[in-house]
Amino acid sequence: MERGGVGEKIMAKYAFSRLLAVIPILFILSILAFGLMHMAHGDPAVAMYGGATEKMRESDRERIRENLGLNQPLPVQYCKWLSQAVQGNLGVSYLDGRPVTKIIQERIPATLLLSFSGVLLMVILALFFGVISAVQQYSFFDHVITVISFLLFSIPSFWLALILILVFSVYLGWLPSAGINSLGQEGNLLDLLQHLILPALVLAVSHLGGYIRFLRSSMLEVLNQDYIRVARARGISQKAILYIHALKNAILPFITYLGLSLPSFLAGTFVVEVVFAWPGMGQLAMEAARDRNYLVLMGTILFSGLLVVFCNLLADLLCFLMDPRIRYREIRGHWRDSSA
């Protein structure tokens, strides 16, 4: 690929086209969030003040409705809400009167830290076990991995979390069972790591099964291709074939799969957060659901949707950088467009 001007232009163009494709999804997400908010018993007073509405007078409710412009048609209301939402105004939580956006912003770093460590650990483990079981197909080791990944596929993540707490916190006493920091240890990196190990491990292991299976089959597919046979015939070492020729190709569908399965990974993060009292977005969402704190819940829905969409974009760009086939397709498209 050409360095400099054209290459960067094509990359920017590709990124832009992916960005355009995301807009409908964002639109649907916003409609979904708005619709759910509207469903809050049809009464926005309930949406804003949750359980506290029961103590309100009818006249107060009327006043709230009027102030919010709820006598206007739905599309108008939606547009107003959206223009506020885009500016980061998602309303205030009825529990403490703080802006929803701010509450969520405080929770995002913890969620990102946990899910990123989980993904990292999971990818490392999946690469290791997936490649080995593909290379040694039908060996004893392969069978053991297959059985284990089947088992992991059937274990609910929160139960695995409970079992690990039981073993490592209750019986062995090695690791803390909850929270992100010990009391008075905020900012202590070692302490944070100690708290991170169990939740990240649960997250990685409980999703591992599917990813190992996926990597194994895509690796097997690549290893049966003609160019691998050619490489073998040319006397290229087994290691080079595996890691340079095969893995590089097998990992591309894996990245796409990772991007697509991100929502389920995030769902796992949310449940794990609750078990470990990890102060992230998932814990916030579940608290909000229990308190009927609708605006906060809608906020977490919007933000996690955004997070998923953003990570999918990232996966697309990563594939673009790693896969020459996509790159050349785009370059050809670029030349066709510019010569026309």
Binding site: P24, I25, F27, I28, L29, I31, L32, L36, M39, A40, H41, F150, L151, F153, S154, I155, P156, F158, W159, L162, I163, I165, L166, S169, V170, Y171, S177, P263, S264, L266, A267, T269, F270, V271, V274, V275, A285, M286, A289, R290, R292, Y294, L297, M298, T300, I301, S304, G305, V308, V309, N312
Partner: protein, 278 residues
């Protein structure tokens, strides 16, 4: 495509499928026959036998209110299995209708419908479930409705893709040339050819639905606390876990894992027998 008779024969020979079906049938039988298998009541509180470990009179111990864990596991199986099967039935109906419309009509309608679906798919499932659930009265029916109503997307996508490839095939085009009415093409030609892949997916989805129900109950947002369900029991067990009462966490979880595992065995075996490459 295999004929139906040979297909069933092949599954019958598959040892994982046999194992899966056997365990599943035992679990269903045990859940249904629970009143005859145990002398305890699932909600009977016994304050003289609180937090007891496994013993002869309570093989799986008791919980923090002295209720027999084994009894509650057996009764809890009714909830989990019922939720699993009915929720999947609902998602199947929704997904098939959605996928059929999108796949048969095609064009801009298909684009809009797939766009809406992508929006749903971009959200973590548990968040969607929780968001819809809080609008309903807590209870078994709501749990089933919500889980069924939020897991139809994959079925819809599968049906749509199948329709798109089937529509290209000659027998469907022949039917069109012969002026066969649309509904007949759908019910006679297209849907029957989707049956097997949709069935495989649905079986796996039963396992997902059971895990979702238990997560929901575990989070305190599912089946009401007093009713025994595996997720509820785990929620209760979490409180005494730090005291070392492992039996309240281990046993209900084992029931979930064994159930989902046998369902997955079954699904995988069916997929295997369909794979022509073997």
């Amino acid at each position: 495509m295999l004929s139906e008779g040979r297909f069933l024969q092949k599954i019958g020979k598959h040892c994982l499928a046999r194992l899966g079906i056997t365990i599943l049938l035992i679990l269903i039988a045990v859940a249904l026959l629970a009143p005859f298998l145990t002398t305890y009541q699932p909600t009977a509180v016994d304050l003289y036998a609180v937090d007891q470990g496994p013993s002869l009179s309570h093989p799986m111990g008791t919980d923090n209110l002295g209720r027999d864990i084994l009894t509650r596991c057996l009764y809890g199986g009714r909830v989990s299995l019922a939720v699993g099967f009915t929720a999947v039935a609902i998602s199947l109906a929704l997904g098939i209708v959605y996928g059929t419309i999108s796949g048969f009509v095609g064009g801009w309608l298909d684009k809009v419908m797939m766009g809406i679906m992508d929006g749903f798919l971009a959200l973590p499932n548990i968040l969607l479930v929780v968001a819809f659930y809080i609008f309903l009265e807590p209870g078994l029916t709501s749990v089933v409705l919500v889980i069924g109503g939020t897991s139809w997307m994959q079925v819809a996508r599968l049906v749509r893709t199948q329709f798109f490839s089937l529509k290209q095939q000659e027998f469907v085009q022949a039917a069109r040339v012969l002026n066969t009415p649309g509904y007949k093409i759908i019910t006679r030609h297209l849907l029957p050819n989707c049956f097997v892949p949709v069935m495989v997916m649905s079986i796996i989805n039963i396992g997902h639905a059971i895990i979702t129900e238990s997560s929901l109950s575990f989070l305190g947002l599912g089946i009401p606390q007093h009713e025994p369900s595996w997720g509820n029991m785990l929620m209760g067990g979490q409180m005494t876990l730090l005291k070392g009462s492992w039996w309240q966490t281990v046993f209900p979880g084992m029931f979930i894992v064994i159930t989902v595992l046998s369902i997955n065995f079954l699904g995988d075996a069916i997929r295997d027998s369909l794979d022509v490459r073997r």
